[in-house]
Amino acid sequence: MKILLVDDSRTMRNIWKRVVSGLDDCEILEAGDGQEGLKTISENGPVDLVLLDWNMPNMDGLTMLKKVRENDKTTPVIMVTTEAEKLRIIDAIKAGANNYVVKPFTPDALKSKINETLKKASQPA
């Protein structure tokens, strides 16, 4: 399984990495902002899961999500954000996010969101 981690903070990517490295057979790709994230997808082909930060320089997470969804409606995307107001979350869901995690979170909370999201995505609609 290929997982793309997009966050401007290397600390956060390391925390996520510790969580997802517990998943089976997992290849981790990393990007530091939305632009890099898009580039990583176009260079490496489709991934199985994207963890996407909201607040990033150059291109934020919501913009990247919208660009991804222009030609890929299915790859599960989890927004990881401190931007916890309802309106923002609705924006992200409308733009095609499958799930969201609010920072700060515990590793267990992230793990269960990831499992929940992958499970839902693998079920026929």
Binding site: N14, I15, R18, T82, E83, A84, E85, K103
Partner: protein, 167 residues
């Protein structure tokens, strides 16, 4: 320099930061934060040597500085990242910045206004100064926890939402 603050700081903005600081430190660093008595800060120098600075835009403008002693910052980074780091390393400021980003983001949720948060910056070194707005007071909240002392320095104000519907 001695220009009088002409506006009062909104207590709900301060409360939002208090709540958020406790919550973030508790979840990410695993410490209980004890808060001291808030006071007004009049000089541009932050309380300690390591500053995580977050700027606000939109309905709330100004900045909030989380000011740590070098030792506190080191301890926080260590439990946040799971390893000891030198203050010179890029990951050190990255971790402090992300922690401040979380505190600001959660506070913003608490005060429920349409505010934008900037990408946090981190300054390390004795004697640095922070540019603050002079028309609102800067509220300083001293904080104590198992890993050391730090302070939250809040210099923000709510601005009239003249453009609320234009978006």
């Amino acid at each position: 320099m001695t220009e009088q603050a002409t506006e009062k700081i909104d207590a709900s903005l301060v409360k939002a930061f208090v709540y958020s600081t406790k919550n973030v430190l508790n979840t990410m660093v695993g410490v209980d934060v004890e808060l001291g008595k808030p006071s007004l800060r009049h000089d541009p120098q932050p309380s300690y040597n390591v500053s995580g600075i977050v700027g606000f835009t939109g309905d709330v403008v100004g900045n909030v500085v989380i000011s740590f002693t070098g030792e506190t910052a080191g301890n926080i980074v260590e439990s946040f990242c799971g390893e000891k780091m030198s203050p010179q390393s890029e990951d050190f400021s990255d971790a402090i910045g992300e922690l401040c980003n979380m505190i600001a983001g959660n506070a913003k949720k608490e005060f429920g206004l349409n505010a934008g948060i900037g990408i946090p910056s981190v300054v390390i070194g004795a004697g640095h100064m922070i540019a603050r707005m002079s028309d609102v007071p800067c509220v300083l909240i001293p904080c104590k926890c198992d890993v050391g002392n730090f302070a939250v320095e809040i210099n923000i104000k709510q601005v009239a939402c003249l453009t609320a519907e234009v978006k």
